[in-house]
């Protein structure tokens, strides 16, 4: 049963994407197809998570080629959990985008949106599930190619300029990834991650550290860690808001997942890499949030908070302990949900105000109290106000940091607390500029040919509903914190004993 289900989160969206192109004249069918497909992926991901948690890691060898010859798909607790969260987020953002498209009538995102969105979903699922380094590269490319189209969907001067930066940086990262794969293959003769884990352990330490650092640079670009983050705040804010929301929530986290997976599986117990990770984490947190403080545009401000908060996840990984990893995984789950919500709320604000500039907005809470709540809850959660999910996730990380007690770990705790306070300042400043003060005039649409009309004053129920759904999802993390933390602790336990992963991939099921 699981063997049939495991490839489906990749296969279903890809098939649906093909079908969706054929249906591009029938917009309703296209929408229905996307919703049904992604809802299906949510259900499958939930089943996979349950099976991974109860029955242990599920493995499928594609085409029946036994590992390490063929490509393995692996669903352990970490990948199944992230798959489920990302599927839920993809579905909610899709509903939001549909709401926006329906409300804007003819000017809806062009028919290419749905196929690209589905390809993006397939790429993200493949990146989480694959157990093969080269297949991970392909997954990244599938995801990125779809994202190239989505980020330049409107095709205006701003989008083209931002899209160009994004494509060039991503392409450079891909070239580096191929380089890294070539080096790993030269050193070990395999690209299957479980097999490579075994063979890398036999290599001299210098080679291992070098390979680990090359892979860290590759995934560091995707995850936007210091000093490789400057492309992110430059390119994300120009895309349509549902697209930015899904990029902000998911794409950088796929990079974080890749760092988590490769560093724990391929290069466990490398003290040097852990130290490097801790230093990078601290710098990412601090530099990112300092960038956010000076921004005037809400979407840019939020983009800088993405960078800053990636630092927390890297910090958890740098601690290289079970508690640190559990905190990092919980933080990833929390951050996917919260950051997506914030960008969805920013999209709603932009619709009401016609701008996302803090200077030009004001007094929105008088006319849109629901929107005010939808922004404030995730914003406070991001800053880590108890009892919201951000507080719980940060608490887990800080406890792990103090437990570690090393000089860098404690410095990380200080940086994390300072970053939380500065995040609070940044999001509350945005709150006071946008929602308080005298009511600002709605800025008329500058370019009537814009694909997505802003400042129309209408916020369709579906958009608000989808945003509210993700906000509730974020709140439910608070209530489910106990079981969820236990689950992430078990997932982290899998990560600190990579032999389990290796066993389940390399040893055929019959002989276990």
């Amino acid at each position: 049963m699981i063997r049939v289900l495991l490839p489906l989160p990749v296969v279903l969206p890809l098939l649906a994407a093909g079908l969706s192109i054929m249906l591009s004249r029938y917009q309703r069918l296209q929408r229905l197809l996307s919703v049904v497909t992604l809802a299906g992926v949510v259900v499958i991901a939930a089943v996979l998570l349950r099976s991974a948690d109860v029955d242990g890691t599920a493995v499928v060898q594609l085409g029946g080629w036994i590992a390490p010859i063929g490509i393995s798909l692996v669903a352990d607790r970490l990948s199944a959990l992230l798959l489920l969260v990302s599927a839920l987020v993809l579905l909610s953002v899709l509903l939001y985008a549909i709401g926006q498209g329906v409300a804007d009538g003819r000017r809806a995102p062009v028919a290419v949106f749905h196929p690209c969105y589905l390809v993006l979903a397939a790429g993200i699922a493949m990146a989480f599930l694959t157990g093969d380094l080269f297949n991970l590269f392909v997954a990244f490319e599938v995801m990125l190619v779809a994202s190239y189209v989505l980020i330049t969907l409107e095709g205006g001067a701003a989008q083209v300029r931002a899209g160009m930066t994004y494509v060039v940086v991503s392409l450079l990262a891909s070239v580096l990834f191929v380089t890294a794969i070539g080096l790993v293959y030269a050193a070990t003769g395999t690209v299957n991650m479980a097999d490579a884990a075994v063979r890398l352990a036999e290599l001299p330490e210098g080679i291992r550290v070098a390979l680990g650092l090359v892979l860290l640079v590759v995934f560091g670009i995707k995850a936007a860690i210091f000093p490789l983050f400057s492309w992110l705040p430059d390119s994300y804010p120009t895309a349509p808001s549902p697209v930015t929301a899904v990029f902000a929530g998911l794409l950088t986290k796929v990079g974080v997942y890749a760092i988590l997976r490769t560093q724990t599986l391929l290069f466990p117990d490398e003290k040097l890499i852990s130290q490097v990770l801790l230093v990078l984490a601290i710098l990412t947190m601090v530099v990112g949030i300092l960038g956010a403080l000076v921004q005037d545009d809400l979407k840019r401000l939020l983009s800088f908070t993405i960078v800053s908060h990636i630092g927390y996840m890297v910090y958890g990984l740098g601690l290289a302990s079970g508690a640190g990893l559990a905190g990092a995984i919980l933080y990833t789950v929390h951050h996917i949900v919260v950051q997506t919500t914030l960008f969805l709320a920013a999209g709603l604000i932009e619709r009401r105000e016609g701008t996302s500039s803090l200077r030009l907005s004001g007094g929105l809470q008088k006319i849109a109290p629901v929107l005010a709540a939808l922004y404030l809850l995730p914003a406070l959660s991001l800053a880590g106000i108890p009892p919201l999910s951000g507080f719980l996730a940060k608490l887990g990380l800080l406890q792990a940091g103090l437990e570690d007690g090393g000089r860098l770990a404690v410095a990380g705790v200080v940086a994390a607390i300072a970053t939380s306070l500065l995040t609070l300042y940044a999001v509350v400043r945005a709150w006071s500029e946008i929602f308080w003060g005298p009511l600002a005039e709605v800025v008329p649409v500058v370019d009537p040919d814009d694909a997505l009309v802003v400042g129309t004053k209408r916020t369709p129920r579906l958009m608000v509903g989808a945003t509210a759904f993700v906000v509730l999802g974020g709140l439910s993390i608070t209530f489910l914190a106990g079981p969820l933390y236990d689950l992430t602790a078990r997932a982290a336990d899998d990560l600190v004993t990579p032999s389990r992963y290796v066993q389940s991939v390399l040893v055929p099921e019959a002989s276990r």
Partner: protein, 135 residues
């Protein structure tokens, strides 16, 4: 593992020239630079597969024993995949560069407008926020 010195030198040249071109401001040079870097990476992957050998077919006709005197087929398959992907993305990038030329009239990479605005704003020039008014 034995390596091919000529190939290794070529890879080095491709990487360095590619990196140099990538640092330019003109989009066409960046695209060419990325192309050269991609070729370098593909050759590196090929080099990682070891020395060349007979075609890797398991035949009765005696084309060679697998793993002894045949070429390693896996890097070739991977290089093929990488070439196709780089080709696709590069054509998209060219289309984007053309669009940028249509919109702006040249193919230079533009600065981030908002970035420039933020760095121009001096602290005393910023308007006091509403909160401060109320305090």
């Amino acid at each position: 593992m034995t390596g091919n010195l000529t190939l290794a030198l070529l890879i080095g040249v491709l990487y360095s020239v590619g990196t140099y071109l990538l640092l330019q401001r003109t989009l066409t040079r960046i695209v060419i630079g990325l192309g050269l870097l991609g070729h370098g990476a593909n050759l590196l992957l090929l080099q990682a597969g070891g020395p060349p050998g007979a075609a890797p077919f398991a035949t009765a006709a005696g084309a060679g024993t697998a793993g002894v005197d045949t070429a390693d087929p896996l890097p070739q398959a991977m290089v093929l995949t990488a070439i196709v992907i780089t080709f696709g993305v590069t054509s998209f990038l060219l289309a984007l560069a053309y669009r940028s030329w249509v919109l702006t009239g040249d193919d230079e990479v533009r600065d981030d407008v908002e970035d420039a605005r933020v760095s121009r704003t001096r602290p005393e020039a910023t308007e006091p926020s509403h909160v401060e008014d109320e305090l």
